[in-house]
């Protein structure tokens, strides 16, 4: 497996949607290629960090205010059964 081939299936490797026989090839390539190992580990870490940190929090008071506004608008609208 070449680095280009590895990169082409990087997403599948990260998402673990890869066939067993390809997995062995990938593991062999990563063992031999330090660059691909770094790209694989740090890309996986990138996703993990973004998943673990909520960037746009909705504080409870704002959430309640918006929720109530939505429900008020829906009650005033003709709705789906008009």
């Amino acid at each position: 497996m070449t680095c280009t081939e590895f990169l082409a299936i990087l997403d599948e490797v990260i998402d673990q949607s890869i066939a067993a026989e390809t997995r062995a090839e990938i593991e062999l390539h990563i063992k031999k290629c330090g660059h691909c190992e770094v790209v694989f580990n740090t890309t996986r870490k990138t996703i993990e960090i973004y998943r673990a940190h909520e960037l746009y929090e909705l504080p409870t008071d704002l959430r309640d205010r918006l929720h109530n506004a939505i429900m008020e608008k829906c009650k005033k609208s003709k709705g789906p059964c008009s």
Partner: protein, 222 residues
């Protein structure tokens, strides 16, 4: 009327949202209250990722839920309610941007013809647990600024697929893109984010804090 519809909720293998949607269609608005509460944070985050503006995201969130409510009879149940809702939220977000740009066309395809991120250039490894080197607010700022720097078409695919956990097919449906287009954008989004975060996460990337002067106040000196 509601009682007969509720019997559908017990069907095996059916997504629980379907029963709620049926109740709303039958006139039970409290079921819509449940759906809004379930997905309001996600819709807000997605709107923020697209508009990058808090007030716009608040407006989009309200408009998207109202529109979904009014158009609920058009929801056929071929996809998940959430995917259908996200698609509405994406369209409302783009409309909001268009308004802000006084009618200029806004799409998901802007600036995606960048060469950045096609192939990795930075092979420096990261420090172990690099996020530990920053306090929470510093880290949030880094993560926000980094993702905000991506072209919109990449940013939104990453947000839906990797942050909000939609499948590739659901992301394609919500964004009206083909599955190969989602895959291609996701790979480039991930590689670009990785490359940009490397500046902060490589060993020794964070400068040491400035030395504190004994007795000097933190405030501005007059």
């Amino acid at each position: 009327m509601v009682a007969t519809i509720q019997s559908v909720a017990g069907d095996e293998g059916q997504h629980p949202d379907i029963a709620l949607v049926e109740r709303v269609k039958a006139g039970d608005i409290s079921a819509y209250d449940e759906l809004v509460r379930k997905y309001e944070r996600q819709v807000f985050r997605i709107a923020q990722h697209i508009t990058q503006n808090r007030e716009d995201a608040e407006d989009v969130m309200q408009d998207a839920f109202l529109k979904a409510y009014e158009k609920l009879d058009q929801f056929q149940g071929n996809s998940k309610f959430y995917t259908w809702l996200v698609r509405i939220a994406v369209n409302e977000s783009l409309m909001r941007l268009r308004k802000r740009r006084t009618g200029k066309l806004v799409s998901m395809d802007e600036d995606i013809e960048t060469e950045e991120g096609r192939v990795p250039r930075d092979f420096a490894d990261w420090a172990p647990d690099p996020e530990q080197n920053y306090d929470n607010s510093e880290l949030s700022e880094i993560l926000r600024k980094t993702i905000q720097g991506l072209p919109r078409g990449f940013r939104v695919v990453f947000a839906l697929r990797d942050i909000e956990g939609l499948s590739t097919e659901e992301t394609a449906e919500a964004l009206n893109l083909s599955v190969p287009a989602v895959k291609s954008r996701l790979l480039r989004a991930r590689l670009q984010l990785r490359e940009r975060l490397s500046r902060h996460f490589r060993p020794g990337a964070k400068p040491a804090p400035p030395p504190r002067q004994a007795g000097s106040p933190a405030g501005k000196r007059v």
